[in-house]
């Protein structure tokens, strides 16, 4: 006789780096319904942004997410530049791409490690995080900090990267790629890993669109959408083809991220090779006025900022839609039907960043 049980999964759980609760309704070992509950780390960043100066907000929005701090600042600055009619120098645009792609690499490495940890593969977790350390050292050298790099400012970037540091970055990426080849090979071809990921948490393409999935979750379901196609920063010259997989399961989501890592490596090299020699910032003049939308591609998916300014130093409204905010809804579809032992892997496969989600 099947019995129904409700299990609270989280907010504290070994696989979860951040608190989210899922109320799982189980019938024996099978999940019938999953209801996400957030609200454990709500910080009110959107409200704080209305009280601060628009230049100070650059440092505030970076703290929405440490893992992709640069891309948050980029999205915010890009929106303000549009409102103020600023044209960013090309070198700054290229440097923005370099830092963005390094952040994507770093974030995917972090995720691949945590994901390996989710199905109990501790040594693979260590291998990925060992590689990630090399990337953190690049940030420290080029931007002055490991996590919150604060390299973006309104009108450009705050620091230049010297030729020597560019060369060191390229050398580091060389070493990184060799190590990454080995670890990613395990992630994609190991029998036990495939046993835990293939066919789990399938999200079909039509559902992905209706539930509003974003980023690798969306692309793993076969939807060819990547905000880098809009050509922000220097992506108009450094063209990006979205990485697409069709299976829509956990394995496909890992594969998309692994292929995106290779794409990022390639993008950083192309950006460094084609780095123009211009100024790195223009001075912002006047005050922002009007409403605009700024969209960029984060490691976790599409990030959207809605800015409403009124010609004063403070913004009327800053709306931040982080990718995990969009990817929590697909969980409602992915989890029902799976076994309770697969829940941690499926939850991790969306790359949840709960502090982003709640802002």
């Amino acid at each position: 006789m099947a019995q129904r049980t409700v299990i609270p999964f989280g907010p504290q759980h070994p696989v979860l780096p951040e608190p989210i609760q899922l109320k799982l309704t189980l019938k024996d070992e099978i999940v019938e319904e999953a209801l996400p509950h957030i609200g454990y780390v709500h910080r009110g960043v959107e409200k704080a942004a209305e009280r601060m100066d628009y230049t100070q907000n650059v440092f505030l929005v970076e703290r929405i997410c440490g893992i992709c701090s640069f891309i948050h600042a980029l999205c915010y600055c890009q929106g303000l530049e549009r409102l103020m009619g600023l044209e960013v120098p090309r070198r700054a645009a290229y440097l923005r791409v370099i830092w963005s792609e390094l952040h994507r690499l770093q974030s995917h490495h972090l995720w691949l490690g945590l994901y390996a940890d989710a199905f109990g593969f501790e040594s693979l977790f260590m291998e990925f995080w060992r590689c990630r350390e090399m990337l953190m050292d690049i940030f420290e050298k080029t931007a002055g900090s490991r996590v919150i790099i604060s390299a973006c400012c309104i009108g450009g970037v705050r620091r230049d990267i010297s030729d020597q540091h560019l060369q060191e970055t390229l050398d580091t990426l060389e070493a990184l790629e060799a190590a990454f080849d080995k670890s990613s090979d395990v992630m994609l071809n190991d029998y036990t890993v495939k046993k835990r990921t293939v066919g789990k948490g399938v999200l079909p393409a039509d559902k992905a669109i209706l539930l509003g999935a974003a980023g690798p979750v969306l692309r793993a379901s076969g939807v060819e959408q990547d905000a880098r196609q809009t050509g922000f920063a220097a992506y108009d010259e450094l063209r990006v083809e979205p990485v697409v997989e069709t299976a829509g399961d956990c394995y496909a989501r890992a594969k998309v991220r692994i292929r995106e890592c290779r794409q990022s490596l390639d993008l950083v090299r192309r950006a460094i090779a084609g780095l123009p020699d211009t100024d790195i910032a223009v001075r912002p003049k006047g005050r922002p006025n009007g409403r605009t939308i700024s969209r960029v591609e984060q490691p976790r998916g599409e990030l959207l900022y809605f800015l409403a300014a009124n010609g004063t130093q403070k913004l009327d409204r800053l709306r931040v839609r982080t990718p995990t905010f969009a990817n929590v809804a697909p969980l409602v579809h992915m989890l029902p039907g799976c076994e309770v032992a697969d829940v941690p892997v499926i939850v991790l496969s969306i790359d949840p960043c709960i502090s982003c989600t709640e802002r």
């Binding site: 549009r82 669109i209 509003g212 969306l218 839609r321 905010f325 809804a329």
Partner: protein
């Protein structure tokens, strides 16, 4: 680099392309978007004092964005679009909780307990004090 390849610099003071819709047509408009297979990105609520401006953003492919704008009086009911886009439940709960927008018929309704507890002051994002539009500060 060609000028056409770059994202356009917004010279106008509003988000484009935005189509205003009335509240009664919102669900039908959302359904039409769903039929065209557009991806729901998010909704943005702006407190304009007497009214709320609510934008719904939909992505058409990877590049284009389409927006719907609904303007409703403070107390008016706003129908939920979770009938067409289930993924909208989080953002609608957020609007209801942080701004006090009266969103009705949300598929998964947290009843104002998504972010906050019963001990918190309700609707922290709403510009409660003045009826006038944006409070000018910082000049």
């Amino acid at each position: 680099m060609t000028e056409a390849a770059r994202p356009p610099v917004a010279a106008v003071c509003d988000v484009e392309p935005t189509r205003p819709v009335v509240v009664a047509d919102l669900c039908a408009a959302a359904e039409a978007m769903a039929v065209r297979n557009l991806r729901f990105v998010t909704a943005t609520c702006l407190d304009m004092g007497e009214t709320f401006d609510i934008y719904y953003h939909f992505a058409d492919g990877g590049v284009k964005l389409e927006n719907l704008l609904v303007t409703i009086p403070r107390e008016a009911e706003l129908p939920s679009i979770t009938g067409s886009y289930l993924g909208a439940f989080l953002v609608e709960n957020e609007m209801k909780e942080l701004f006090g927008v009266n969103v009705v018929d949300i598929a998964i309704d947290y009843n104002g307990r998504l972010f906050m507890t019963e001990l918190d002051q309700p609707h922290p994002m709403a510009k409660v004090q003045s009826g006038a539009a944006p409070a000018v500060a910082g000049e």
